[in-house]
Subunit: 319 residues, 2 copies
């Protein structure tokens, strides 16, 4: 806590602050202050010390430290408890473990890189270090397992809103869980749950975003916010805005205003009104994507004129 | 492994076996044999040693040791890997942790007592030490989350079959997950899962059975196999038979012969053809329980003549 207060001091002043002043305000010794400053420098904060002038914060490291995420974050639920890791096998598995042990709703797991980042259906999410936002969020909605897909939709909306706000970029959602920018994939949502057959215990919403990835490290068909915008994006700012948007959309969900989430989803959708092929668990169908329904299912009108509801599967947009 | 072999020797002979013979067969020293025997005695095996005669097994402890469970168990999948605990908060949570870490299908978690045994919908399952069978089983079927309820049905059938075989007692199933004997509750099934919204990662089937509980420690409306049968039941034998029956019924499920599971379930059901009240997640309905369907849902004909399908809830059988 003391370290965060020292940082706050330095950030607000944006100039030299006398060590005596800081130590006095925080009621610590000059010696203790010096130790904290050293630790901050070890974490990557560039702080210069000049005799008679004091300390000055020159720059912050490009890290998603929990005290930075929490700093001036005004959410009531989402991210109130944060677990931060430099490296993890998968934020999903860590969050699943925390959820099983009873971690409260809103608990956030963030990693700077994942060695076994998870995508949908057992696929891998490539998670290069310090380049993206890789998070898992524990939610505890009072719902049946078949209502969970709506959480994927609202999270996708939150991602698009946050990117719009922070980067001024217009992203689109490919049903059910992909985030696209200029027809290239830049992110994905993975929703997992622990449930009894008739009650969800908790849901883990995982979000992976390519933020500052360089072109040469991106696979074909993928891109990053930096590549599309032409300049690096502040990951911390983006993450904070994302948490705010997750909170506001989840709040709609809890107030049973799913209809408003769906309206926003439709606006961001790149799937609706397209001709699609859906490869699902057991069948594959082809037709016109017409709408998304209150369960998060995709309504596809097949060529015979019948409308089918798809809850699972991979969508291919036809030309 | 050596200890299990020594036990096997003593069990087969049912009389004194010379230490030289055992040590020779297992290619260990007399000194090593003596140590193993001491350890077995420490675990509760009553073994007497008489000079010139050798060792004799007088009795086995009433424990569900994994080497006892595995002994002569002919299943191919269920219980091939066993985690055994004298005490656990909950076998469900331990199994959930193991499942997340990738434990294979068929992995079994057994505890002699649970301090926070879980029932359905957040309720407590009272688990007095050495009196019951408390287990959780990890399954990895390739199904959608809404197909998981059938696993509850097939597990209930396996429980009834095992009790019939070992105790010669006729139990009944109250939809969805309770096991009754002479109109008293003696067991329950709890099915949990970890899933993506469109794919089950793994399912945990939890089974709690009151086996040798004394009347004075049972709550009103509950009973135990011992109380109903009038004599103690061999927990180990019951558990082994249960694993066999779980394997055969799960095998039907994997071969998509759900119809055969449902037929057996109907025979054991005490809910069908009864007038029931169902208190479910959001509504409550009353009517005649008519059938169970391929998803594990209960079909109830309400008084207007319409048949409603119930996937969740508590059932009260009306007089």
């Amino acid at each position: 806590m003391t370290r965060e207060k020292i940082l706050d001091f330095l950030k607000r002043k944006q100039d030299y602050v006398s060590g005596d002043l800081i130590a006095g305000r925080l009621a610590i010794t000059r010696q203790a202050l010096w130790k904290h400053i050293q630790e901050l420098k070890d974490s990557g904060y560039d702080i210069v010390a000049v005799p008679h002038l004091g300390y000055k914060l020159v720059s912050c490291p490009d890290r998603l430290f929990p005290h930075e995420i929490s700093s001036h974050l005004d959410t009531r639920l989402i991210g109130k408890k944060i677990y931060y890791f430099d490296v993890l096998p998968s934020t999903m598995d860590t969050a699943m473990g925390l959820g099983t042990k009873g971690a409260p709703e809103g608990t956030l797991v963030v990693a700077e890189t994942q060695t076994k980042g998870k995508g949908r259906l057992g696929r891998v999410w490539f998670s290069p270090k310090y380049k993206g936002v890789y998070l898992s969020l524990i939610l505890r909605p009072d719902i049946l397992p078949n209502q969970a897909p709506v959480l994927t939709l609202l999270s996708a909306v939150a991602v698009c809103e946050a990117i719009k706000e922070v980067c001024r970029l217009d992203t689109q959602i490919k049903w059910p869980n992909d985030i696209f920018l200029n027809n290239k994939k830049i992110g994905g949502i993975l929703t997992e749950m622990a449930a009894e057959t008739d009650r969800v215990s908790f849901v883990i919403v995982g979000i992976g975003l390519n933020v500052n990835n360089d072109k040469k490290l991106l696979i074909s068909g993928a891109s990053s916010l930096k590549e599309e915008k032409g300049e690096p994006v502040n990951r911390l700012q983006l993450l904070q805005e994302l948490l705010r948007r997750l909170e506001s959309n989840y709040s709609l969900f809890r107030k049973k205003e799913t209809v408003r989430i769906l309206d926003k989803w439709r606006e961001y959708s790149m799937t609706l009104n397209k001709r699609v092929k859906v490869y699902s668990h057991k069948e594959h169908i082809e037709g016109q994507a017409q709408d998304v329904d209150a369960d998060g299912g995709l309504l596809v009108r097949v060529d015979s004129g019948i409308t089918k509801k798809v809850m699972a599967g991979d969508v291919v947009h036809c030309r």
